[in-house]
C-alpha cells in the first residue's frame, strides 16, 4: 500500500462513531476518507458531492444547498476536515492570508466558514505536507479557533507523516501515531512548535485488504490520491 492510502484510512478514522452527521471535507484524500468511512464502519454518515447533492455509495440520496449547510453548521450535526495554511499547537488555523492582515504578503481564501465551523461542531485538519511552514508557533490570522479560544472540538490532525490529536491536559497538540516508515524525529523536525510526545508512539494503522479494494477499485480508480501528497 502507499502513503496516500494510509492517509485515506487515517482520515476515515476521524469520523468513526460520529453517527448520522454531515462529513464535509476539503481536499481529495479526506473526501475519500469520508466516503470510505461511509462504505465501511460509519454507514450513517452523510456525504456530499461537493455541491448540493447528498451521496450514498456514489448515488444521490438527498439535497443540501449552501443555506442548509449553514443550518447544519449551527445545529452542530457536522464534522468537517478542513485544510490549513498555518496551524498552531492549540489548533488555531489560518486559511485567510499570510503576513499582516492589513496588507498581506499573500492573500489566501479569507476565513470562509472556519470561524463558524470551529465554534459549532467537531473539526479535524488534513495537511498534505507536514512542515514548519504550516505548523507554526502563532498563526497570522485566526480563521478557525483552537482549544485556547473555546473551539467546540478540534479532533484530529492527519498529515502525510502522522496523526496528531489534543489528548493533553491543556488540550494542546500531541503526536498520536506515525505512518509506516516515519520516525518520531521526522515529525518533530517538521513541526515548528513543541509537540507532546507520549512514551509510546504507535504506528498509524494500515488499510485492510477490503479497504484497499474499495479505495483502488471503487472510490478512486484513477489513482488521483497519489497526486495530493507530493
Amino acid at each position: 500500500m502507499t502513503r496516500a492510502e494510509t492517509c485515506v484510512v487515517a482520515c476515515a478514522e476521524a469520523w468513526r462513531g460520529d453517527g448520522a452527521i454531515l462529513a464535509s471535507s476539503a481536499g481529495l484524500i479526506p473526501q475519500l476518507g469520508a466516503r470510505l468511512a461511509q462504505s465501511t464502519f460509519a454507514p450513517e454518515l452523510l456525504v456530499t458531492d461537493g455541491e448540493a447533492t447528498l451521496l450514498r455509495d456514489g448515488r444521490a440520496e438527498g439535497w443540501l444547498p449552501y443555506r442548509t449547510v449553514f443550518a447544519i453548521v449551527a445545529a452542530g450535526t457536522r464534522h468537517v476536515m478542513m485544510g490549513a495554511s498555518q496551524l498552531d499547537r492549540f489548533g488555531n488555523q489560518n486559511i485567510s492570508c499570510v503576513g499582516p492582515w492589513e496588507k498581506p504578503r499573500s492573500q489566501l481564501l479569507c476565513v470562509r466558514g472556519a470561524p463558524g465551523n470551529t465554534v459549532n461542531h467537531p473539526v479535524s485538519y488534513w495537511i498534505p505536507r507536514h512542515s514548519p511552514r504550516v505548523f507554526v508557533e502563532n498563526v497570522d490570522m485566526v480563521s478557525g479557533v483552537g482549544h485556547d479560544r473555546n473551539a467546540h472540538e478540534i479532533r484530529l490532525v492527519v498529515t502525510d507523516l502522522a496523526v496528531l490529536d489534543f489528548a493533553t491536559p491543556d488540550r494542546s497538540m500531541r503526536l498520536r501515531s506515525t505512518h509506516s516508515g516515519v520516525t518520531v524525529g521526522d515529525v518533530v523536525a517538521a513541526t515548528g512548535f513543541t509537540l507532546t510526545i507520549p512514551e509510546r508512539v504507535s504506528q498509524t494503522r494500515e488499510p485492510t485488504g477490503a479497504e484497499l479494494t474499495l479505495i483502488r477499485d471503487h472510490l478512486d480508480p484513477s489513482n488521483a490520491r497519489e497526486r495530493e501528497i507530493r
Binding site: K103, C110, R149
Partner: protein
C-alpha cells in the same frame, strides 16, 4: 406589468460610493453581463457585498470597487482569485472579512429589517480583531450565552442572475442551489434580476416545481434579458462554467484581457468568447 429594461438603464441607477450586492456564489451563477456593464460604467468607490468570485475580481481589477464585504473570493476550480489577491497585497482594496455564515446572517437581518441577528460564528476568531466595530450580545435568558451581534448588511442595489423569469419579476432557478439570491433582493433598496430567458408567466409556472420559484415580483424592480449572461461562471443546466476561458482570465495580464474582451459592449464580448 412589464419591468423588462436594459442592463445599461439598470446600471445607471448606481451612484459612486453605493453598496452593491451581487448574487451567486464563487464562480457560480454570477450576473456577469451586469458586472461587465458596471465595469464599463466607470463608477467608483463601490462597496461590493458578495460570496466572491470573478465578479469581485473584475471590479477590483478595473478600480471600480473600494471595499469588498465577503467570506471568500474564489474561482472554485482555481481556488484563489488573482486580481483580488494582488489588490490585497498591494493594499489597494479595503476588506470587510466575515465568516460565510455571518454574511448570510447579515443579509437575513437586513431582509427582516432587524439591526442585527445573534450568531456563534466569529467568536474567538480574528474576524473580531479585523472588524473592531463588531459587538457581542448576551442572551437575556438564563443560559446567558454570549453571541456575535451580526449587523444587518443593507444594500443600495442588488443584482442576481437566474435561469428563467417573467416580465413582471418572478424568477426561477433550474440548477441544484438557489445560493442566497432571494436574500440579496430582500436586503436591497433596488433589485435587478438578469436571466437566460424571459417567458410568459404561464410558461414560467409550468417550467418546474413551485419550490424553485426563488423570487417574486415584489422582490424585483427590473428584469434584464442577458443570454449567456453568467458567462464564464456556471449557470446549470443552461451551461457549465467555461473552464478554459476562466483559466485564460486568471492567467492573462489585466490590460491584455480587458482589451481583448471588455472594451466593447456585451455583444462584442459574446462574439469574442465564442471564437
Amino acid at each position: 406589468m412589464n419591468k423588462v429594461g436594459s442592463v445599461e438603464d439598470a446600471v445607471s441607477e448606481i451612484r459612486d460610493g453605493m453598496t452593491i450586492g451581487i448574487g451567486g456564489w464563487g464562480s457560480r451563477r454570477k450576473p456577469m453581463a451586469v458586472v461587465r456593464a458596471i465595469l464599463r460604467s466607470g463608477r467608483k468607490d463601490l462597496t461590493l457585498v458578495s460570496y466572491g468570485g470573478p465578479d469581485v475580481g473584475l471590479l477590483v481589477a478595473a478600480g471600480i470597487a473600494r471595499r469588498v464585504v465577503t467570506g471568500f473570493v474564489s474561482l472554485d476550480s482555481i481556488p484563489l482569485e488573482p486580481h483580488f489577491r494582488r489588490a490585497r497585497s498591494e493594499g489597494t482594496i479595503a476588506l470587510t472579512e466575515y465568516d460565510e455564515g455571518m454574511l448570510y446572517w447579515g443579509l437575513l437581518a437586513a431582509a427582516n429589517r432587524l439591526p442585527f441577528l445573534p450568531i456563534r460564528a466569529g467568536l474567538g476568531s480574528d474576524v473580531m480583531r479585523v472588524n473592531p466595530a463588531l459587538r457581542t450580545v448576551r442572551s437575556p435568558y438564563p443560559d446567558d450565552t454570549e453571541l456575535v451581534a451580526m449587523p444587518a448588511i443593507a444594500l443600495d442595489v442588488a443584482f442576481i442572475h437566474l435561469n428563467r423569469a417573467d416580465p413582471g419579476g418572478n424568477g426561477r432557478y433550474l440548477g441544484p442551489d438557489p445560493y442566497f439570491d432571494d436574500l440579496f433582493c430582500l436586503a436591497a433598496k433596488r433589485r435587478f434580476l438578469s436571466c437566460e430567458q424571459i417567458e410568459t408567466t404561464d410558461d414560467l409556472m409550468s417550467g418546474g416545481p413551485p419550490q424553485t420559484l426563488l423570487v417574486n415580483r415584489s422582490m424585483v424592480d427590473g428584469v434584464l434579458h442577458t443570454p449567456n449572461g453568467a458567462h464564464f461562471t456556471s449557470c446549470v443546466p443552461d451551461y457549465e462554467r467555461d473552464e478554459a476561458f476562466q483559466r485564460e482570465y486568471a492567467g492573462t495580464d489585466w490590460d491584455t484581457f480587458r482589451a481583448r474582451y471588455l472594451d466593447g459592449g456585451e455583444a462584442d464580448y459574446q462574439l469574442a468568447v465564442k471564437r
